[in-house]
């Protein structure tokens, strides 16, 4: 089963590496990853294994310049 994690943050040069680092450290199996960048905002949607979604969401929420994280079952 998979869950969707939506991350919104500031369009800062290390935003994406920080998100990917969190996912890599947790060893999460990812099905898809979609990124939209506008002037100052980045929106990222990650489809990942459901069991890891809650902890990944908490870890992403505490990254600097992440403004919101929501998990969609």
């Amino acid at each position: 089963m998979f869950a969707k994690v939506r991350v919104t943050g500031k369009n800062e040069e290390t935003f994406l590496p920080r998100v990917l680092r969190v996912l890599a450290k947790q060893g999460v199996h990812i099905r898809s990853l979609h990124l939209d960048a506008e002037a100052d905002v980045v929106k990222l949607e990650v489809l990942l294994v459901e069991a890891a979604a809650a902890q990944v969401a908490k870890l992403l929420a505490k990254q600097m310049f992440v403004s919101s994280v929501e998990t969609v079952e």
């Binding site: 290390t14 590496p17 920080r18 680092r21 902890q55 908490k58 505490k62 600097m64």
Partner: protein, 553 residues
Amino acid sequence: MKMTGAQAIVKVLQEQGVETVFGYPGGAVIPLYNALYDAPLKNVLTAHEQGAIHAADGYARASGKVGVCIATSGPGATNIVTGLATAYLDSIPVVAISGQVPVANLGRDSFQEIDIVGVTMPITKYNAIVRKSEELVPMLRLAFAIAKNGRPGPVLIDIPSDLQVKELEYPELEKVELPEVLKADEGIIEKAAAALNEAERPVLMVGGGAVTSSVEKELIELAHKADLPVVSTLMGLGVYPGSDERAIGLTGMHGHMDCNLAVANADVLVVAGSRLSDRVTGDRNRYAGTKTIIQMDIDQSEIDKNVGVTLALDGDLKETLAKFLPLVKEGKHPEWWAQIREWDRMEDRSVADGSRLTAPWVMTQLTKTFADRDTIYVTDVGQNQMWAAQYLTIDKPRHHLTSGGCGTMGFGLPGAMGAAFAKPDSQIVHICGDGGFKMTGLEMFTASRENLPLISIVINNSCLGMVRQWQQLFYNERYSNTILTEFDFVGFAKSCGADGRTVTTCEEFTEALKEAQNRTKPFLIEVRIEQSDLVEPMVAAGAVIYDFVKTHI
């Protein structure tokens, strides 16, 4: 006001209340060192960048302020990586400033160019490279705010050398916006208090988060009101006074028997500022059992991370306890205490009885000798660290400094040096093993040059004791690369401008400790002990925390 980038860095440091910086100059920070040359800051030159970052860390741990470290680009920056990891895993507020090649040379594998932001991303709370002059001051201000806000941690700011030379307009101080710290749910606070009020076998566990939140008074009130036995993780030692009758000591892999058994048999466990790491829990799947675990932590991602908890109170510990305490009823648990005292009597502490020179006995003598003096103990990693944690009595927070999460051998001496700068009126006692001392021992030269009256206790068992202990117990006594050859510790200390003595008996140690006090330079005491002395009790990695290793079969 116009000034160079380097002058602006110094101005931000002053603006942030920084009094001491630790570092090592190099090509990419020459402009910054030029600005520091006549700046009203204590600028400490260490023997190695690793010494600088551990000193900044020790300064932060002892003072509660942000520690600052400076390193050049390339190898200078990579030399602080272990120190950043050490600070990160123990949530210590440090700001590291690294020099970088000029902006125009970035990404070209220039001389001494390393992508230190990429290297340190997993081991910093935040890091960034400054690419434009106008970003420099706001980014440094942000670094200090992030380092100390919420759950503290290290921040690295990488500054190209040309931006240190270029002039900029120094901006007015503006408020830095940071995410708000969560507040614990009041309904869960009520449930937690109700659970504690009904408990028959409660235990309070204090961790490093309690030190950061300065909740020593609240913890004493809680433990006395509800009659709680108090166990401490390695990082929590001192936040609850070790000499208080309710303090039963260290829990975890080398926890005391009564502490681990109390935790294992508790019906309610209140965890104040601990992530319940593997060294604390042993087998995390068998840690909770049927008990109610109330976990208080400022970092939401720590809740349920290692052990599933029943009641999660995510928020600042001080605020949480302020709401929790009034709901807690006066309690008494005489039967529970009788059981704990019985478990306590099971532990053989004869190793500390003074019939021969041992590390546990040394710890008890240090406690007695410095009982009336404000003394900060800074330990290294390994057997020395565990003996200190088991047998020193620490009564105040920030008086037992150690690398808990990262377990960094070599932290002790530079960490002690940082503590000495932070607390010049306190006695600083550095405790290490013979292996760890050699890793960063050249900082003895720095400590001597700076006239720091450290007392450095080197527990010399001529081996890498903790690894040797595991090899003895779990690897069929195959002592692969753990037996060390002779080293002249006192001669080394003297060559650094310090002094010292080698001791082989309890009487000699007592004399040397007298000689070590009231000096203006470091004094090293090499304590020669038996190689076969083990740290006990011990729980094997991954075992349940009351399954103590049997070493005397």
